[in-house]
Assembly symmetry: C2
Homo-oligomer: 342 residues x 2
């Protein structure tokens, strides 16, 4: 009898926020690994905001998922069959296995994960792409200096919490923005932020700006941009001369509805960049994999010592991935979102 | 009999484009220089787009001119009385003398100008603030590399022509944008641009973009931003991965009318910065005076050898400064705009 696996395909492109109808659960035979390939049984699958962009057909920094194609994403799993030298059955590896229970993939490009040094889920979050994104954006484009003030949104997420904790360790004042009082409490108590503002408590960018100004009495030197929308509009006028804005994403705008664009014109943005001599840098973490070793060297010991707190939000079962992803895009998760597939 | 001088004051704040009624010609007694001051008889006065911003009361990178206050600006003139050590009658100096025939100012902060090494007008243009702006923005924030492609608007202006000529000398492909066929011819023949597009020939940003794309077959690596508006909208989607955009100004938006904002949203700008990993840097040249010596060392010999062409647009008479300034803001000048005051 053929053994079957499950995967989730893109059934249709979303119009605005994705709905369950945009996804389709499929069963198909477990593939056999070809020459140089391994067969992986996925244990945990990552859910990340960037996946929303792949569901569209507009130009982005990576190829889009075709309709009826498998949803893409990073996962960690165990090798259950190997046709590649140096990769043994029973080893754990991280790679782009997609939204699936199994994948046969070329062994080149897989990263081995040692389950004895850290929980394997760390390879998807704090030690993986999101943590690396936060560390690289902060250190490379934020150019933090002790005594400065940093603001980051999605403060309890895997990017924001890394940014905030590394910035704190470098002597900055760190102000977070998060959705709801529970996340704000977590940002301060668990992640050590100096203050955290609940963006749900503000109807307008100007109301949020007023409290941000009080929380940042010396202005804002670094705004780590991972959300866009209302937070950006609140922050821009508070930026200090020669402030820095690394941009790794803008989840508030991913669903592409006009209401979240709230009137910040191109002219206003351009004018702020000029008037405050800002340095704004977009970056795509996949162009910086050669720096991953630097990240692990810098942050690994901090994680091992417990100086970097970790928060994970794990959903059980591949079939629940679409709902968990839809929730992620509206901030319904708390901490690094992933799906336990096995 | 008291000797009289003339100056031009801000009579009222403009609403959109300035009109002659926003200016007032005044007569007043020539002042006596105080301790440590010199009295300067202005010969040439600079007209620059940034002055438009000083006429508003909105936040900018420098203090605004109060209503009834003297219009500000850089000028070059001759010392006709000195109360400061080391500054002799007959010497030429450059400084912020405003729109005026005379000024008594502290000698500290004045730059001496040697009329024997170059025409004194060069201190306001090619060797002064505009030329320095072009050189610094290009070399510091543009990070040019041989073989890359650069686009700059206002190609025959003192900033754009410096940017284009220095970039050409570094081995870049240089495409200019200018207003009208005569300026485009000048950009290519006099300043050595590879191509120059006439922005008046395009009704929409997308039409301009089509021809820009043909003129930049390898995409755009550096867009030196000195105009904003339609050109920015045309350029952004053509930027290459890791492109750089130094921003020194945006004259198209200075008059603040909504029609020139032409629908480029903050979200679109932010998305382009992210998707193409752009590096966008605003800068105000007055924060970089410590680099002026580097500029003179790099570009002075090129000017002396005739490798940098110079184009000046000189209006006679202080009383004609308002009209010349209004013309400058709509691109009616050709080359560095200044007023011959004496």
């Amino acid at each position: 009898m053929t053994e079957m696996m499950k995967q989730i395909a893109l059934a249709s492109r979303p119009n605005g926020a994705p709905t369950p109808e945009n996804f389709r659960l499929e069963e198909l035979p477990i593939p056999t690994p070809g020459e140089g390939e391994v067969l992986v049984r996925v244990h945990y699958m990552s859910l990340d905001p960037y996946m929303r962009g792949r569901m569209d057909d507009s130009k982005s920094y990576a190829a889009n998922i075709p309709v009826d194609g498998k949803m893409e994403g990073g996962s960690v799993g165990e090798i259950i069959a190997s046709n590649a030298d140096g990769f043994e059955v029973g080893e754990f590896v991280m790679g782009g296995f997609g939204w699936a229970t199994h994948a046969a993939v070329p062994a080149t490009g897989l990263a081995k994960v040692d389950p004895k040094t850290a929980p394997i889920t760390y390879s998807l979050g704090v030690m993986g792409m999101p943590g690396f994104t936060g560390w690289l954006g902060l250190t490379e484009f934020g150019r933090p200096k002790s005594g400065e003030t940093l603001v980051v949104a999605a403060a309890t997420g895997p990017v924001g919490s890394m940014v905030g904790q590394v910035a704190k360790s470098m002597g900055l004042r760190v102000v977070g923005i998060a959705g709801g009082p529970d996340k704000c409490k977590m940002a301060v108590e668990q992640f050590g932020f100096d203050e955290c503002l609940d963006h749900y408590a503000y109807d307008t960018a100007s109301a949020l700006r007023k409290d941000l100004k009080a929380a940042c009495p010396k202005g804002i030197d670094i705004y780590f941009e991972n959300v866009g929308g209302k937070v950006l509009e609140a922050v821009l006028p508070l930026m200090n001369l020669h402030g820095r804005i690394p941009i790794c994403g803008m989840i508030a705008w991913y669903n592409g509805t006009s209401e979240v664009d709230n009137g910040l014109s191109g002219q206003q943005i351009w004018r702020h960049i000029l008037v405050s001599s800002l340095s704004v840098n977009g970056f795509i973490i996949s162009n910086f994999w050669n720096r991953l070793g630097d990240f692990h060297k810098a942050v690994g010991p901090m994680i091992a010592k417990g100086d970097i707190a970790v928060q994970e939000d794990i959903t059980e079962g591949l079939e629940n991935a679409p709902d968990a992803f839809i929730k992620l895009l509206t901030g319904g998760n708390t901490g690094k979102a992933m799906v336990k597939v096995i």
